[in-house]
Amino acid sequence: MPPHRLRPLDLQHGVVELAHGSGGRATHQLIVELFQRHFGSPQLAAGHDAGILPPPSGRLAVSTDCFVVSPLFFPGGCIGDLAVHGSINDVAMAGAQPLGLTVGFVLEEGFPLAQLDRIAAAVGCACERAAVPVISGDTKVVERGKADGVFICTTCVGIVPSAVHIAPDRAGPSDVILVSGTIGDHGTAILSQREGIAFETDIVTDSAPLHTLVAAMLDADPDLHVLRDPTRGGVAAALNEIAASAQVGMQLDEAAIPVHPAVRSACDLLGLDPLHLACEGRLLAVCDTRSAARVLAKMQAHPLGRNAAVIGQVVSDPLRFVELRTPYGGRRILDWPAGEQLPRIC
């Protein structure tokens, strides 16, 4: 068939072919017939090599993230919405309101177009709900076996309001530590689908864009000290990162940390700690003790912060330990997670 008369993409049975990454007519066809159907933004429609944004006033926040999740589809979401929320949240954790997003796809030859279409639709839908447009994109195709289905890289740019100075090293003694909701939901949803250890659960991913929650919190206290989304490594890694940056210790009240009962059951079963499991739509905040009640009230009034709670306090500690007080009056250190989380034998 001559190249100017390509058959329309077969979105039901077709697969990604190397030609789709060749830069030729097939690439153009994939962009127009698949991606552009889902990503309608004026920047993309303009057809430039670069997305053009008006010059922002204030400081820019930029964050980039790569997504290689397996499985690609999991309860409550897929790699597409995850990739959108991930970069939006990284920008939001600087206190910024996102302006736009770039999306890069690395596709494995042979990947079903129907699944790619679902993923692209999830990207488009997540962007629309978050009101953050895709302003630029790219697609590459690699030979079969050189990638695992689909990898997505997203970069988000946002504007940091002038009064906002969020930084991990601003956590200081007597500051209050808050979490926006139940922890470990996303990690549990992914684990429940993983080959070899799949189990049934009603837990779905917590993946969500957090910038509107952050805006509400900044409304209560423009001088929030630290924000962090506990993704890989979970709450344990995120709090240890903050403690290391700010050279402080932390004391947490284990009973105050919200954990969904089904997540706790799954962790009991697998011998894992919910504090080590990833969240994709939760945030940890450190703020001045005087504004903590106001911030908490704003969080609880927001749909993504209904289960928000104060979970502990920053303390001065030269050893920078994150310490948990257990419900039984004992103590234990909340350490960095070691390597991959491996289910135990029995």
Binding site: P168, G196, G271, L319, Y328, G330, I333, W336, I345
Partner: protein, 382 residues
């Protein structure tokens, strides 16, 4: 309401601690061993070790299946994966245990070996069905808790006539280990009584421990894994010791019966038989303490299929895992603890599984005043 919530009630725990303190005979020390690694983990994780009266000293026993497997037997699995190009399926927490030259199954995977984490032997069987042209080997380890699953899987494989599936059988027996420990313990460490294993007892039943309790005159109280379970068991041990009793008491009645799960036992004896002797890491050779496949199932025995011998590989010279496993040394007494040996880079097996005493101590920060955890100098960004 979660079933376990009743057994996690902090107020009840507080009342039990008060009762326990009242029951202690002044001047007497109670040296109690929790045999099972799950109990060690629960004691550390809940912080209960901090709350026990000083007169109650918990000694952490060898009941962590990852910890008691000799390096040579793990090395068989690593060699199979590296040299025989099999698909090696394993429980997750075996993957990081260091073998010869600190190489682990995870490192073998990075080096190109086909090593897969499974939740149990049945999943390894699925892998075998999916890859009829490849040899699939399941690294079968564990106490009586995991043995029935292995037995059922091998029986299933035989009924399907699968020719590409086999197991490296390293299943070990708890009562034998307890006897081995008690036979040597007196001259090395003094144990007054035992918190008996919960999950194991669901299979073998509480009666299985009666001979040990009688022969050695030590009370054994079988416990579940929640804070209330452990506190009740410790209280009941103290009460038995005060009364001069040495009985088997079943505090885990919601899961354990006197005779155990007889269907599971029948399945085990259908497929597996006693080994004459088996080498335990830390405890040395113990007669009749482990299982192998019966002759009629020998086609599924990876040791026979691949003509494997067991390499003798010594522990790291400074590693005190053997003493930790015998309860003669605390994890923090080892010079490698938290320095050369951490959960990120374990030298000994007790640092690998969350149920190993060293890892439980490290993760719960019981070493707090002795060592700084290896936090990265500059934190990674999200």
């Amino acid at each position: 309401m979660h079933l376990a919530d009743d057994f996690r009630d902090p107020q009840l725990a507080e009342r039990l601690l008060t009762t326990l303190t009242r029951r202690l005979v002044p001047g007497r020390t109670y040296r109690l061993m929790e045999f099972c690694g799950g109990h060690t983990h629960a004691l550390c994780h809940s912080g209960l070790l901090d709350r026990l009266p000083d007169a109650v000293r918990m000694i952490h026993g060898p009941g962590c299946p990852v910890c008691v497997l000799p390096i040579g037997r793990l090395q068989q699995a690593i060699d199979l994966a590296m040299e025989q190009q099999v698909i090696l399926c394993s429980y997750g927490d075996m993957l990081r245990v260091p073998g010869r030259g600190r190489q682990s199954l995870l490192m073998a995977r990075s080096a190109g070996a086909d090593v897969r984490m499974v939740y149990g032997p049945a999943d390894a069987l699925v892998v075998a069905r999916q890859h009829p042209q490849r040899q699939v080997v399941f690294l079968a380890v564990g106490f009586e808790t995991t043995t029935p699953m292995t037995a059922a899987t091998v029986a299933q494989a035989r009924s399907e006539g699968l020719r590409n599936f086999s197991i490296l059988c390293n299943h070990v027996l708890t009562p034998a280990a307890l006897r081995g420990l008690l036979a040597t313990a007196e001259e090395q460490v003094h144990v007054d009584g035992f918190v008996g294993p919960g999950h194991v007892s669901t299979i073998i039943g509480s009666d299985a421990f009666a001979p040990s309790a009688k022969q050695y005159g030590k009370p054994i109280v079988i416990a579940g894994f929640e804070p209330i379970d452990l506190l009740s068991a410790i209280l009941h041990l103290v009460e038995q010791l005060n009364a001069g009793l040495a009985e088997v008491q079943n505090d885990f009645v919601r899961a354990v019966s006197p005779s155990g799960n007889q269907r599971a036992q029948a399945l085990i004896s259908q497929v597996l038989e006693l080994r004459d002797t088996f080498e335990w890491r830390g405890l040395g050779p113990i007669p009749h303490s482990a299982l192998r496949l019966r002759p009629e199932y020998s086609a599924f025995d990876a040791e026979l299929r691949f003509s494997l011998s067991t390499p003798q590989i010594a522990d790291h010279r400074a590693c005190r895992c053997p003493e930790v496993l015998r309860g003669t040394c605390r994890p923090t007494d080892c010079t490698l603890f938290g320095t050369a040996c951490t959960p990120d880079s374990p030298l000994g097996s007790c640092m690998v599984s969350p149920e190993g005493a060293c890892a439980a101590y490290f993760h719960s920060g019981r070493s707090r005043l002795q060592v700084l955890p290896n936090a990265p100098a500059s934190p990674p960004t999200a």
